[in-house]
């Protein structure tokens, strides 16, 4: 079945084919140095987890990315939990979906060139301002918020060292992603969550940062999953403000409906 206009509209304003046709950050056999393969199969730190998935890596997709991959037949669903979609409801009545996939060296990760965007941009995520300009880069992965401190600059993962050319590619990637204000919302929202997690740990549980790696991640996972690192209502209120600000800036071009 061919794509109709509604399929394409769901992908938004970003040229996903261009992004998926570009290697932004890639190193030969990086998975051998990154704790067992961060994106495509379980990584070393997961052995300390009790609640979060240990037999694969749960990864978020941007809504437009999800629809692009689905239209291209790239979302293989050979196992029951390969894809999920959940709604986050905001206090003002709006809601938005979170798409997730699970990578276990099968499904979307069975071909390295099809890996999700969050893997393709690892280790950094671009954070936009409201106008769609690159404001800063920050760690993509939640565990890296703390991991880089724990290893004190001795991260063995080869892909975490960026060349000037790769930083240029982040700018190229950002320009394409930020054409769509929906992506601006999602990337700023991800940054808000990460900031809440990092600040929550540092202000509420600073003693954890003194623990050895295994003990740290055991405690961190529990506090994260049980929602104790930050106040969910505070983050949701910030997302309402963000949504309002993007509506004011972008008008009808920004909408969280029908994603």
């Amino acid at each position: 079945m061919g794509a109709d206009d509604s399929d394409l509209r769901l992908e938004g304003l970003t040229d996903w084919a261009r992004l998926f046709g570009t290697e932004f950050i890639s190193r030969d056999r990086c998975w051998e140095t990154c704790g067992g393969g961060y994106c495509c199969k379980p990584f070393r730190i997961q052995q300390h987890f009790a609640f979060l998935r240990r037999e694969g890596v749960e990864l978020p997709l941007l809504p437009g990315e999800y629809h692009f991959l689905r239209r291209g037949g790239l979302l293989q669903t050979g196992f029951e939990d390969a894809m999920s979609r959940h709604e986050i409801r905001l206090p003002n009545g709006l809601s938005f979906p979170i798409y997730r996939t699970v990578c276990r060296l099968d499904g979307i990760c069975s071909d390295h060139s099809h890996r999700p965007m969050v893997c393709r941009i690892y280790p950094m995520a671009p954070v936009p301002d409201l106008d769609g300009r690159l404001e800063r880069l920050e760690p993509t992965a939640l565990i890296d918020l703390h991991w880089t401190r724990l290893v004190q600059g001795k991260n063995p993962c080869t892909i975490t060292t960026l060349t000037p050319e790769e930083i240029d590619r982040y700018h190229e990637l950002s320009a394409e992603l930020f054409r769509d204000p929906v992506n601006i919302f999602y990337l700023k929202a991800a940054s808000l969550y990460k900031m809440a997690i990092r600040e929550g740990l540092e202000t509420r549980y600073p003693q954890l940062l003194e623990l050895p790696e295994a003990d740290f991640f055991r405690a961190w996972e529990r506090l994260l999953v049980m929602g104790k690192l930050y106040r969910t209502q505070d983050v949701l209120a910030q997302l309402v403000d963000l949504s309002d600000a993007l509506s004011a800036r972008w008008g009808d071009a920004f909408s969280l409906e029908g994603l």
Binding site: R53, E58, D81, H86, V225, T232
Partner: protein, 86 residues
Amino acid sequence: MAQVEEPRLEDQIRGFIVSSLERPISISDGDRLIDRGYVPSMQLISLVGFLEDHFGVEVEPFDVTPETFESIATIAAYIRDRQSPR
């Protein structure tokens, strides 16, 4: 006036889980929630928030195990235990 019966605790938990799924799915009390993808692991945060707000209990992070969240039945048992006088 007819008395309105409060939904079973299990049904209230089920309602929350199903409402956040992409399509309506029938989940039984004993279905394994995380293994079957009904509650992706990061979605546990929302589920815990719902349990605390809706049932007035405090979920203690170091007082639960993954088995607590294995199914609707195990979650309901945990909530009943937390609600019971100590």
